[in-house]
């Protein structure tokens, strides 16, 4: 039998505000235990929350960028449950009035565009962290407690005109697209490995064509895009295998076991959790005015997909190149500024994707901190275009610029890299090389055409790479012909 998978995705994202959701403690990752805590985020008796204005703005921005409808009247609710990482034993969250609802996110699937339906975007607070130690005990650290947290949940089934996630590829694509969007909005660093972005797919399968949903399982602890893909794929196959064997799927939470490359059971959900939601009496409602919502909307920068499409259209780039360039907003911006000032944006794109990215990666620093400017790429490309330096020299020059910040012209001069196009000096050199390699000359003349590369290499080496390769080829052909 053929099966279809139905995948819902719940993503939690920590916001990169300066301070926490409901108190003034600094938001950061890691650090010594309980060093970023106060009476509020540790639930000391008598403490009260107060809402971080910027956190609300960030979540509104995300909701708008995800094409959501906006709730103009927002309430916080208390979600009551006991767990040691939750100091008040309730989480302050949104319940029946999420700030955003009924939106969508565009993803690529097999060359087609899908609009993944989003059910809700809501505001809440993160929990503390537990560190399990020997003797079955755990240490509780509340540094993370109260970090602004945004929950984004897809809508399953999707309404008419929208799609759901249907396979592991799409699951990965969805979370990558989501991350890209949030990074563009500058509201989260979305580091999966640090847990600032956490993805929890819930998966069910059903016979192809059926419109009844199967029993779903939920996956937790997926700490990279790769694992989102692997685990989702594994879980779909596991469930199909179960059904084929005539077994029932059990509603449960499963985790990805990296060592064994499989999902394993974490806990079974017997009954619906009794969270006893009720409106948080310690906080007052948030009323968003239309002017405010529009003001926040106007602050949204050009998002990755429109940017990608513009690169394709305005700079005649292939779609795949445009995808690479828009992946990181600072890279996209770098290219955008370079492309605007050069004759051949395609050449600039190639240079940036190969030479620039290689140097940035080697440096281990983000592009913004590397000091290299679009003007530098322009200068190198122009030197190459005018024939002043050849491609090899250009790479050398660019690497030097990247390392020292010196101007291109100065490096060319200092290192004597100016390309030699003067026929007489190249001819002289060609004569020397041919004279020194009589055997190879004979073999070439006997038909071993590939030796042309050998002669070219010898000449270029002799001339320290400065010879114009076109001129060298022409002279060699003349002399050997």
């Amino acid at each position: 039998m053929k099966y279809d998978a139905v995948i819902g995705m719940e993503v939690h994202v920590e916001l990169s505000t300066r301070s926490k959701m409901f108190c003034g403690c600094r938001v950061d990752f890691g650090g010594e235990p309980n060093t970023r805590c106060c009476p509020v985020c540790t639930g000391m008796p008598g403490s009260l929350p107060s809402v971080n204005r910027r956190a609300v703005e960030f979540m509104l921005k995300a909701a708008l960028a995800l094409n959501c409808k906006i709730n103009y009247e927002n309430y916080f609710h208390r979600k009551n449950y006991y767990y040691p990482d939750l100091p008040k034993n309730f989480q302050t969250s949104q319940y029946d009035s999420p700030i955003g609802y009924n939106g969508y996110l565009e993803i690529n699937s097999g060359g087609k565009t899908k609009k993944i339906a989003i059910l809700r975007v809501h505001m809440e607070e993160d929990t503390g962290k537990l560190l399990h130690v020997e003797g079955g005990k755990s240490l509780v650290d509340y540094n993370r407690s109260g970090t602004p947290l945004m929950e984004i949940v897809t809508r399953v089934p999707a309404p008419e005109g929208y799609d759901i996630i249907e396979n592991a590829e799409e699951a990965r694509e969805y979370v990558q697209r989501l991350r890209q969007l949030l990074v563009y909005l500058k509201i989260s660093d979305c580091r999966m490995e640090e847990g600032s972005m956490r993805c929890e797919p819930n998966i069910s399968v059903r016979p192809a064509g059926s419109d009844r949903l199967g029993t779903k399982t939920e996956l937790k602890n997926l700490n990279s895009f790769r694992v989102v893909h692997l685990a989702t794929d594994y879980e779909i196959k596991r469930q199909i295998a179960c059904l084929e064997e005539g077994e029932k799927i059990v509603q449960e939470t499963r985790r990805w076991d990296d060592a064994r490359d499989e999902t394993t059971i974490m806990r079974t959900k017997e009954s619906a959790q009794e969270y006893r939601y009720f409106p948080e009496p310690d906080l007052v409602p948030i009323r968003l005015s239309e002017e405010y919502v529009e003001e926040v909307r106007s602050q949204i920068p050009e998002l990755p997909i429109p940017k990608r499409d513009r690169f394709v259209k305005d700079y005649s780039l292939p779609l795949t190149d445009a995808e690479v360039l828009v992946d990181d907003p600072s890279l996209a911006d770098f290219f955008d500024r370079t492309a605007a000032m050069v004759k051949n944006p395609k050449a600039a794109a190639n240079w940036i994707m190969t030479e620039l990215l290689k140097l940035v990666n080697e440096s281990g620093r983000p592009l913004a901190e590397c000091g290299i400017k679009p003007e530098d790429v322009k200068a190198v490309l122009e030197l190459m275009d005018s024939g002043k330096i050849n491609r090899n020299a250009a790479k050398q020059v660019f690497a030097e610029m990247f390392a020292t910040g010196k101007a291109a012209e100065a490096i060319v001069k200092e290192k004597g890299l100016e390309q030699v196009s003067d026929t007489s000096s190249i001819e002289e050199c060609v004569d020397r090389i041919l004279a020194a390699n009589p055997k190879e000359v004979q073999r070439f003349r006997d038909g071993e055409a590939k030796l042309m590369g050998f002669f070219t290499g010898q000449v270029m080496r002799e001339m320290k790479g400065k010879a114009n390769p076109a001129v060298v080829g022409k002279i060699l052909k003349e002399k050997l012909g």
Binding site: P45, P87, N89
Partner: protein, 490 residues
Amino acid sequence: MELYELTAHELAELIRTRKASAAEIARSFAGRIAEKEDAVKAYITVTEDKMLQAAEETDRLAAAGELLPPLAGVPCAVKDNMSTAGVRTTAASRILENYVPVYNATAVEKLEENLIPMTGKANLDEFAMGSSCENSAFFPTRNPWDLSRVPGGSSGGSAAAVAADECAFALGSDTGGSIRQPASFCGIVGVKPTYGRVSRYGLLAFASSLDQIGPMTKDVEDAALALNVICGRDVMDSTSLSAEAPDFTKALTTEIKGMKIAVPREFMEKGIAEDTKGAVLAAMKHYEELGAVVEYVSMPNVGYGLPVYYIIAPAECSSNLARYDGVKYGHRSPLSRDTFSMYKKSRTEGFGPEVKQRIMIGTYALSAGYYDAYYLKAQKVRTLVKNDFEKIFSEYDVIISPTAPDTAFGIGEQTDDPYTMKLADICTIPANLAGIPAMSLPCGFDGKGLPIGLQIMAPALGEEVMLRAAYAFEQTSDFRKKPAFPGGNK
């Protein structure tokens, strides 16, 4: 006349005119506490050293020529459900028996900023749940007017301390009458301000949407002075009001000619003791003599206040008290084998029966399937109660009623059934539901010589008209007396 017998404003005057030092005053109260505390048991923790140090500091600043705040050097008791840095804060519960906070409640911070020395932490019903102070996990407080009787509650320790001159004034908290009812039982003045007037930051929450801190004092002028200290917007409490707090002493005139006073029949009917009713009727007459217009009105929904309160308060409390779990502070059961047994055993051992029952009622009222029938319904009826008040206040300046249906009852008399809807709260609860200011002041004595309280309610932010009505009554009557309890002043 001993220093401890004076009102806060009299003591403040002595300090201002250098007729007494803050240290002398503090020593006078320390002596009084030593003398009376064994009988009254108003305090869970007495902070004598801290009080004396603070008083000496005040004297030093005075000697240096600093301009002192109005109540500088006037000792104040603090109900033991307000967080005090470095001073044990128990909420009269075993679960917090050894809890020493690292931060001050905003109200406590304001006392310190105003150089007001703290006498100690006053007893209460556990987590402010109760109306007799008998639900304290440690010991009951006794009514200075009759040591065999309760001082009322939950702010019973604060009320008894004021009545017994064991402090010049006190801070209490009021969720359903917890300031006004003990004030009434102990013959003092107690004010529950408008919800949000005083920051709740650092008040150990019982029912967040009803709780409010307020002063308990020997007279109305002291109440106005104390309100001046503790009111005001606080960024740490999102529900604290942005409205500027006025100088409440400016409202204290006896000129109330033409003031319109409403007396809801519903507050004068069921279960009101004859003596109490008589005292309130006399007060109505007194107001008329002062030139006020006094009329009976009807508030048809006010009677629903009781069931509404008994759903909303436990619901909020069930969530507010979830944090007492044995992880971060307070009692952890030695039987904690895993987190589950830690929660269950610590809470079962740590909470008293009344608290446990309220938590359970609240848990039930909030659970899926019952939320709409209980919590949501209660919140809707709360709107009706609020509307009743709005209607009355569109025509009247203040509402008066008895504070409590009867005077102080005997210790042990009403403890059989630890948790039933108490008619005793019927007059006080509606003000909490509506968020409006309300106060109690002495208006007479019953046949046993026990004080009777008159409740005055005003519209939201109407503390000034309420205080004026109270002041006019107080200044033209003679019900402010001292208890002549065994070993009393005389």
